[in-house]
């Protein structure tokens, strides 16, 4: 039997996300999603001193901050104490790439090509079974950034569907390596989809979702059972890399001081 890991799945996901950040980029910290937020800050503190963090409509660097004071929202004024400069909310439409080079997109539904839906569930737009919150800025950010990541807090067949009822953010469209370019959509699209069970990537040719790694203790069968489309499963599926001690220390001591990721 595998020993109980000394980290939570949320910490694991944060560690994985932290390795997607590249030094020198602009990175929007969507504070509402605690796990991606922690991952981005972790990258900044450990490997990426030159990222420009977009926090509550300010840009900043937090290298010298001993602990990230809690901020749970994208509207809280308190983090603006760290500001080096402001970029207003409507400025994002003037130049999406000045806000962020990469982005994390959540969803009500995600299909096998990484298209996602925040509009609602149901066949008739005028009479939805479940009305979602709306696209927020995901549509435009995901269109313009260099690349983006899908992230969900639960993994089941309601979320992972064969076909989204509505598409609010394009992944690989109807599939294929030219799935985006033939629609005239720039950027490298969704790279990974991070769930509490596993990480998906996309098959290079078909751009269908493929199992990239399983979180510790999760089986291929569990993923297949909880996914509403056929998952590409390679012969060998590694385990998602555990957070290092350095990462856990920094996460717990400086970023997730209140333990949101340990609950």
């Amino acid at each position: 039997m595998t020993p109980e890991p000394n980290f939570t799945v949320k910490e694991l996901m944060a560690s994985f996300i932290s390795h997607q950040v590249r030094d020198g980029e602009r990175v929007a910290v969507g504070a509402g999603l605690h796990v991606p937020r922690a991952g981005i800050l972790l990258a900044h503190l450990l490997r990426c001193p030159n990222v420009r963090l977009y926090v509550v409509m300010t840009f900043t660097s937090l290298l010298k901050e001993p602990r990230m004071e809690p901020f749970y929202t994208v509207y809280d004024n308190r983090p603006t104490k760290w500001a080096e400069g402001y970029v207003l909310h409507d400025d994002f439409q003037e130049d999406p790439r000045l806000v962020s080079d990469t982005f994390v997109v959540g969803a009500l539904q995600i299909d096998k090509f990484g298209n996602s839906n925040l509009i609602g569930v149901g066949k008739d737009y005028k009479h939805l079974q479940f009305r979602g919150p709306g696209a927020v800025g995901t549509l435009s950010m995901a269109h313009y950034v260099d690349r983006y990541y899908l992230f969900v807090q639960s993994h089941d067949k309601r979320i992972f569907v064969d076909k989204c009822d509505f598409i609010s953010t394009v992944g690989w469209g109807e599939g294929g390596a030219d799935g985006r370019s033939k629609l005239g959509i720039p950027g490298n699209g969704p790279v990974y989809c991070v769930t509490p069970l596993c990480v998906f990537d996309f098959d290079e040719t078909s751009k269908r979702m493929r199992l990239k790694s399983l979180h510790p203790g999760v089986t291929v069968e569990q993923v297949i059972e909880n996914t509403g489309f056929e998952v590409i499963v390679p012969a060998n599926v590694p385990t998602t890399a555990a957070p290092t001690d350095d990462e856990l220390e920094t996460l717990r001591g400086r970023i997730d001081v209140e333990g949101m990721l340990r609950r």
Binding site: F92, L128, L139, S168
Partner: protein, 300 residues
């Protein structure tokens, strides 16, 4: 013989709310649980205004949900209707949308600002590329797909949306409508530019000399009217002054969820009566909330 003094643009809350009439298109500033002109919003509800097209903030929130719950809204222009960690989807919005009782101009933040910018620029539409390949052109028939005249590639034309009045919350203004937000002001400038008229609801009215000490902080250079309402964004945050009132927001969300989950409107009717219909004035609303509670909400 010299010109007389400048005219004060300060008006009272009811006079401001009275400019909003049935069927109008209005914009409401702020961002999710922060910076909404709630004193004005409550006064509009008290006045029983109907059939509004509300250009909510990008992103909007429970301020708009309250207007929907109170029966003021016919059509909504917003990108997000939730309360972040308080509730993933605004409850009255959710029900009204699911029943098809609400017209929605479905858009994301990029498209939202395209629509406001087109209005400000006096253009019939402005182009946006993001959205090609999504469901937006289908679910929002006001958005047109066309080919760019220079490159020939498919584009979306986002139509201008021009609010007759923008209602903005900010920290301070002088009597002449020079408004200063604390921090970013979110997308309020875009609403100000797009609207025919703008009314700013502020925490403080300060001397013109105060404004001149830091003109870079003047976010809206000349609105049409100014209303003073301290704690006027409550239960939402007022940047630089107070954080949001979590308990009050949870009380509202609980009332909304009772309706969304079991069709029981009573908890909301009680909320409406207690906080909006019964208190005869804005100050009485603050009395109901209580000075002790208000003083607990300090930002630091």
């Amino acid at each position: 013989m010299l010109a007389s003094e400048r005219k004060s643009l300060v008006i009272d809350l009811d006079a401001a709310a009275a400019t909003v009439r049935d069927g109008m298109t209005i914009a409401i500033g702020g961002f999710i649980n922060s910076s909404h002109p709630m004193a004005l919003v409550r006064q509009i509800i008290r006045r029983g205004v109907k059939n509004l097209t509300v250009v909510g903030a990008a992103s909007g929130g429970l301020d708009l949900d309250l207007l929907i719950a109170a029966g003021c809204v016919k059509k909504l222009v917003t990108t997000y209707m939730g309360g972040e960690h308080y509730c993933p989807v605004a409850p009255f919005f959710r029900v009204a949308a699911q029943r098809g009782e609400l017209d929605i101009f479905e858009c994301d933040e990029g498209m939202f600002y395209c629509a406001l910018r087109a209005a400000a620029q006096r253009l019939p539409s402005t182009p946006w590329k993001a959205g090609i390949g999504t469901s937006f052109p289908q679910i929002n028939p006001e958005i047109k797909v066309y080919n760019d005249p220079v490159s020939g590639e498919p584009m979306l034309a986002i139509p201008a949306i021009k609010p007759a009045i923008a209602l903005i919350y900010a920290a301070q203004s002088d009597a002449y409508g020079n408004v200063q937000h604390v921090s970013t002001g979110f997308g309020d400038r875009a609403m100000w530019r797009a609207a025919d008229k703008t009314i700013a609801q502020v925490e403080r009215i300060v001397p013109n000399e105060e404004i001149r000490k830091n003109p870079l902080a003047t976010s809206l250079v000349g609105v049409d009217a100014v209303v003073r309402a301290p704690y006027g964004s409550h239960p939402f945050a007022g940047p630089g002054y107070y954080i949001e009132d979590s308990d009050h927001i949870r009380e509202y969300v609980a009332a909304g969820n009772a309706y969304a989950k079991s069709g029981d409107r009573k908890p909301f009717e009680q909320y409406l009566k207690k906080y909006i219909l019964d208190p005869p004035t804005y100050e009485d609303y603050l009395e109901v909330v209580g000075i002790k509670r208000l003083l607990q909400l300090h930002e630091y």
